[in-house]
Amino acid sequence: MAGDLVKSNEISDSGQTTSVDRTSIVWLHRLTVLSVCLVWPLIWVGGLVTTYDAGMAVPDWPGTYGYNLFLYPVTTWLFGPFDLFIEHGHRLLGAVVGFVSIAIVIAAFRQERRRWVVGLSVAILLAVISQGALGGVRVLLSDRTIAMIHGCFGPVVFVMCCLAAAVTGPRWVGRVYREGAWPRTRALGWGVVLVGCAAVLFSYTQLALGAQIRHVQPWTTPRMFTALVATHITSAFVLWGLTLVLWLLVRRCGDMTLSRPSGWLIWFVGVQILLGTGTWIVNYGWPTVLAFLPVGEGFLVQSKGFIDSIIVTAHVAFGSLILATSAVVLLQVFRQRYLAKAIDSGVRQLDSSDKELSVGSSDRISSTQDPVVASN
């Protein structure tokens, strides 16, 4: 066993093992992590743009008031109106994300041997371009519906970046199936997959519902809006329940990259529910259902309050974080199941050929052993 190998085990779709050189994709991983670190702030700034109704602070696109995006006077940008500051800043940050996406594609083509990862990097670039174009169309048509779609697609880009960071990371490449890591380790069944899928679906549905509420059209009827809000609140608690179930199902799977983020999810959704309550309060006043709390009596809503806008924007950004985390957890569930399945099929092959070498004593790693992998 070559436990200290740099090369780690990657089982191809055909069931054969191929090697992935971790050092060769280190730059790709760094770039994907950078994209994650840029896209989440970009979502914050985008959320702030909507919170301040600053989406139309710059009427042209792709330029800014006739200037090339990158040549707009810095002093005017920094010391001009706040709306212009955040809208132009949003565009500049978006452009930086675009450059990083291009770098990811280049790094993937140069370093990455897994074709699907290269495909993912291209998909990220296309998604970033599409998102920028959506933002541009929103401005040029002054269309709130496109603004809503732009707001809903941003989290998808964020999810893609997070997935890319996950699949290029050392914990993905160097991961092994650790059967019996704990005394009661459980294999991940279809139930986990279903719950994971449901969590992703609910997270995105919540985002879409939230966008509907945030970008509500003047002619939306009160009943429709009430139904949206009721669904949004109900789904939030369903999602919270799902994250709890998901954590219970994966917590003893033997892989911390899976159980830990699923634990975070519970906290994220809990915080998100609090942020959602805060968002309602700072937008529409103290709700009647919370009238029993004495602090709400006489609460005064402040239009354009800074703290208020941060609460609202944090609610938007946390939605993306929950979606991305649940997507990564689902991805890791699939990965875990895939590794387990590959090992099992390997065991069957070995058994059928009457090899003396027992897979259980070589490829499978017990909790007492170092987390090493089989080489080719």
């Binding site: 212009l84 899928c197 003047p218 009160p222 809006f225 009430t226 239009s303 354009k304 997507a327 699939f334």
Partner: protein, 442 residues
């Protein structure tokens, strides 16, 4: 990876479904071409007069649109207004700045202000029926009745421009109405103009419909000749002045002028507030007696607000906006079947109105002495809070309150909310100062 082969198509499919769903729910962001008509009032008229209102409503809409424009392009019917001050009641530039789509320019001037700040609660036509209205308690104000709660004027008068402006700055604590203190003052002024515009437009729409039925003879069909409101569409005051004036024009113009004149006259109807009398323990004690109608007093505040303003009295009442389509038509607000047609027409679910719990110290219309004085004198328009009978002079009688008694009630109410009696505050300050002096001398 099989996993990703599954995930990516699934995510893509879900994305397509959701985006399509969003498009279908949200629709295109097309221009709002028309203000929604006041179908609730049309149904009220239809029920109370037992006359169909479809023809009248269609023609009223045409006239209102011709005179007041659309959400994208509001206009002010100056040519039909007689008083010069009323012609300038609102500024057309400000109206156009407040309406339409939301954007801002390089100078940070915001446009589409009503859409940005108000429409989600108050609705496009200011009907208090915006998307979020059903989830508000109290419901957002319906400007179209021309009735405003928080003002300095007589109960039946319009608010002054300053009243509306102050309200935007102050907000309404304990409700969804925000303070727009951080919004630029020019923007606030544009919003004030637009609120007045919507109130005038909405009241004109309501009353012209009444007139169409009551005076112009609209029934199943429109009346003949010059009683038809359609004769007003496209009519200009600069047209042949020698020509005979259609009856419909006379009725509509009279109605419009009556409404705008009321707004112009509002500053003259501000309730005068005499100098505040001493805010001392005696005043508070007198106020307490008046509040609780001790010995069969002139007013009985505790009858609704509860002993010491704790709101423990059970009351069943509704505001005028709800009464319009319920009790005034002999319909019980609890009768869901009877209320249903009105709800289908856009009315919000009837909801009880409760007297303020004064012991919380939260005053939605403002808690200053002057404001509370006016509230006692005029009550709150559109609500069951009545006006108190107040003598103009300081002469004492058993049926009216003197200004001093009103101040006594105000002082008592303020102490309920935690405001210290000034005499006591002064006394304690003097005692503090004395104790400090004694300490220093030691």
């Amino acid at each position: 990876m099989n996993a990703l082969r599954t995930i990516l198509p699934v995510d893509f499919t879900v994305g397509v479904i959701l985006v399509t769903g969003l498009m279908s729910i949200g629709g295109c962001d097309s221009t709002v071409k028309q203000f929604p008509s006041n179908r609730v009032h049309a149904l009220v008229v239809e029920t109370s007069r037992d006359v169909p209102t479809d023809a009248a409503m269609a023609d009223v809409e045409q006239v209102v649109t011709a005179w007041f424009g659309t959400p994208e392009k509001p206009t002010w019917p100056s040519e039909w207004i007689e008083l010069p001050a009323a012609r300038q009641l609102v500024d057309l530039d400000r109206l156009q700045r407040a309406s339409g789509r939301v954007y801002s320019d390089k100078q940070n001037r915001h446009f589409g202000l009503y859409t940005e700040h108000c429409v989600t609660c108050h609705g496009l036509a200011g009907g208090g029926d915006g998307p979020a209205s059903l989830l508000q308690n109290p419901y957002p104000r319906d400007f179209r009745a021309g009735v405003f709660k928080w003002k300095s004027t007589d109960r039946s008068a319009k608010p002054t421009r300053e009243d509306v402006s102050k309200l935007l700055v102050r907000g309404v604590p304990g409700t969804g109405m925000p303070s727009f203190l951080r919004v630029d003052s020019d923007d606030r002024e544009a919003l004030v103009d637009y609120v007045i515009y919507l109130a005038v437009r909405g009241e004109f729409e309501r009353k012209l419909l009444d007139d169409a039925i009551d005076e112009l003879g609209y029934e199943d069909t429109r009346p003949e000749d010059d009683a038809s409101l359609t004769s007003l569409v496209g009519l200009s005051s600069r047209n042949d002045e020698a020509a005979s004036v259609p009856v419909a024009l006379t009725v509509a113009q009279d109605r419009l002028n009556q409404i705008v004149d009321a707004w112009v006259m509002a500053p003259e109807q501000v309730i005068p507030v005499p100098d505040e009398t001493g805010f001392d323990a005696l005043s508070v004690e007198r106020g307490r007696d008046l509040f609780h109608a001790v010995e069969g007093g002139i007013v009985n505040c505790a009858g609704c607000h509860g002993p010491n303003g704790d709101a423990t009295v059970a009351t069943v009442d509704f505001d005028d906006w709800t009464k319009e389509f319920t009790t005034r038509l002999a319909i019980s607000p609890e009768d869901k079947a009877a209320v249903k047609p009105f709800r289908s027409a856009g009315a919000l679910r009837p909801r009880q109105i409760f007297p303020r719990k004064l012991s919380d110290g939260v005053y939605r219309g403002g808690g200053q002495g002057e404001t509370l004085y006016r509230r006692v004198v005029a009550g709150i328009a559109g609500t069951p809070m009545p006006a108190a009978p107040v003598a103009e002079s300081s002469s004492q009688d058993t049926k009216t309150l003197s200004p001093q008694q009103v101040w006594d009630i105000v002082h008592f109410v303020q102490t309920l909310g935690g405001v210290p009696v000034r005499g006591d505050a002064l006394k304690s300050a003097v005692e503090d100062a004395e104790s400090v002096e004694k300490g220093e001398s030691r």
